[in-house]
Subunit: 197 residues, 4 copies
DNA sequence: CACTAATCGAGACGGTACGTCGCGTCTTGTG
DNA sequence: CACAAGACGCGACGTACCGTCTCGATTAGTG
């Protein structure tokens, strides 16, 4: 006894075909790569995935939600390891952010996605959640840096993270193609300097 | 002599009604304020301006160009005065950027505009040009700061500007409503620290 | 022996809930009355009956068959009594036809049903069968009338019946609301005249 | 002067391409012939006509209106000539009605059209108007017949016409294929008999 | 008492059509 | 030429209905 509700919820009706979900996500990634954001149409995605628009709308409230999930699956902090010296750790954050947002798929999806955020509050929340892990890790790391005397005591993780994300965003939207590894090093060094006590 | 070309161009046929241009720009600003980016459709703009779509397309190659001009007229560096100490000047740059991009009209127009940039190279160029004056002024100021010993010698104006713009952009797109004056001060202070020799 | 087949057919598996059949028929009649033919969708019928689409399709090959059975149950000649003089009997046929086809439910169902007849041969057959009893009775009556000298010898029951049905049909489809009792009397009189020797 | 309104109405905007109207009507007729009522889809019609759905909706409020105009253009009484003896004239009415409603296109369109009549009051009115000429002519002819002693004085043109239309309708919807010339003669004779004084 | 087989509810599935909207172009008549 | 008006081709949108299917859970009769 106990989880009657769960059982009812799980058991009701024909279960969704899990392959359709994957096929739709893959179709979005294909179309983003081949034709950019404009090519990602509800009909085109469904077609490419070998299914129908209705199946798509059953899973996501609108196209941008699906695109978001397809372009930025999982947690951004996934392979972020903080533990070296502060400069190295900040480089990791900046590089990770750049790699994620500037990947072919990410770069194709992001501008359009950001434009739709205003119309879909839940989409906005979902995007913010992606940065949750990075923020927590960075906050911990910064507190340690303050204790170790590597950072001044007013340093704020949210400001640092927003500067990093913002730098990538501005680069991606305004001057794409200049965000090479040298740029990562320069921005990381700048952030490191800004934290000095 | 002199402006033959102008005369030929101007002289042929009925001259354009200059009021239409202004009415269209005003209509875009009204619609942005009232209904956001989604409300700014060609038909709605022309209607609100009391004119027609054809008149609009005679003046701008496409809607985003008109929106750009309506939301961000003139040069961004317009009322930027650099000459005080470095911290104050940087605060001016950050505040000016925030004020421009986060004005009700700017905030409504920017996400959509950035999404369209990929499709209209000339629109991208036009947007970049807006920052030209700020960049030049900041570069001058930074060189002086290096000479004065206020900034380290590897400081780059483009990186600083991109960090400032990026910070505003990230704030606007991801956490709007948090970009108050205290935020401006914190970010400006951070940038100033990052420039210390 | 005798009903082995019946027993085998009946015995296997869980028996059908007889209340569902009635609930579906009643649901169709409700929806026809409330919202007309367009309101009678498979999902709406199943919902209203408190059951599901699958249960419906287990009982009828398609929606029109169910609608037919709901709107025109049983034999049309049910309460047709022929035996008075010819004029009275013809009035009975015309009135009966009108009453059946022009009842609120019948009138709502008929136009749609007739449109579907082309797509469902078995539905066509089922509809024709409804008139079988009336036709047989009318044919008998007409033969007697010929013998009695009340009708000319070339009178054909099928033509008379088609004229009667057609008159109701044309009235229902083209000028509904005019098929009152006076109309029944006029049409009956006309048919009676046409049969005179 | 005087028709300012007309001039304004006519002169405003780009005029409709008259070829599109014809192409759409022809497309409906083609599709009716080839695939029946079910094949007449908004998209299919527009496609076949080499135009778009929007152009169609600009001309007719809905598909049934277009189908009606395509299947039953002009006045039904077009080539109806009344003036011979009553029996011949009635045969002309019955035959004309049958020919119009039972033509391949008419037969394909009619059942569906009649089903939609309930949903579109204006469509109903348009269909009724088609019979206006026939009714007027028949009324005149009947009055003359009464004066000549060929018809009894209570004969009503509307009843006769409804009987004729109804006979064709019932034949078309219930027993198509039996409405040959012999049937026309039988029904006409029946109607003639029914009018005898 | 298990076993079998059809039913029940719920709801996803592929397919197809709907009517609307926006874009950027075009074609008129009138200044 | 510009201008108002509005039709044009194009293509996407989100919804609705159809008839089928796949589940897990009943609900009889049978072995």
């Amino acid at each position: 006894m106990g989880n009657d509700i769960d059982e009812v919820v799980r058991g009701a009706g024909r279960p969704r075909d899990p392959r359709i979900e994957q096929a739709l996500l893959a179709a979005v990634r294909d179309l983003l790569t081949e034709g950019g954001y404009a090519a990602v149409t509800v009909a085109a995605v469904a077609d490419r995935a070998g299914t129908t628009k209705a199946a798509l709308y059953r899973r996501w409230p609108a196209l941008p939600h699906l695109i978001h999930e397809a372009a930025f699956p999982g947690e951004l902090a996934q392979d972020l390891v903080l533990g070296a010296d502060l400069a190295t750790d900040l480089t990791g954050v900046v590089r990770g952010t750049r790699d994620t947002l500037c990947s072919p798929i990410g770069a194709a999806a992001l501008p359009g996605l950001l434009a739709e955020v205003g119309a879909w509050p839940d989409l906005h929340a979902a995007m913010m959640r992606r940065f949750g892990g990075v923020f927590a890790a960075l906050e911990d790391r910064l507190q340690k840096a303050v204790r170790d005397g590597d950072a001044h005591s007013e340093a704020r993780a949210d400001d640092v993270l927003r500067l990093a994300i913002g730098a990538v965003l501005a680069g991606l939207l305004l001057t794409p193609g200049e965000l090479d590894d040298a740029w990562v090093d320069r921005i990381s060094a700048t952030l490191t300097r800004s934290l000095r006590p």
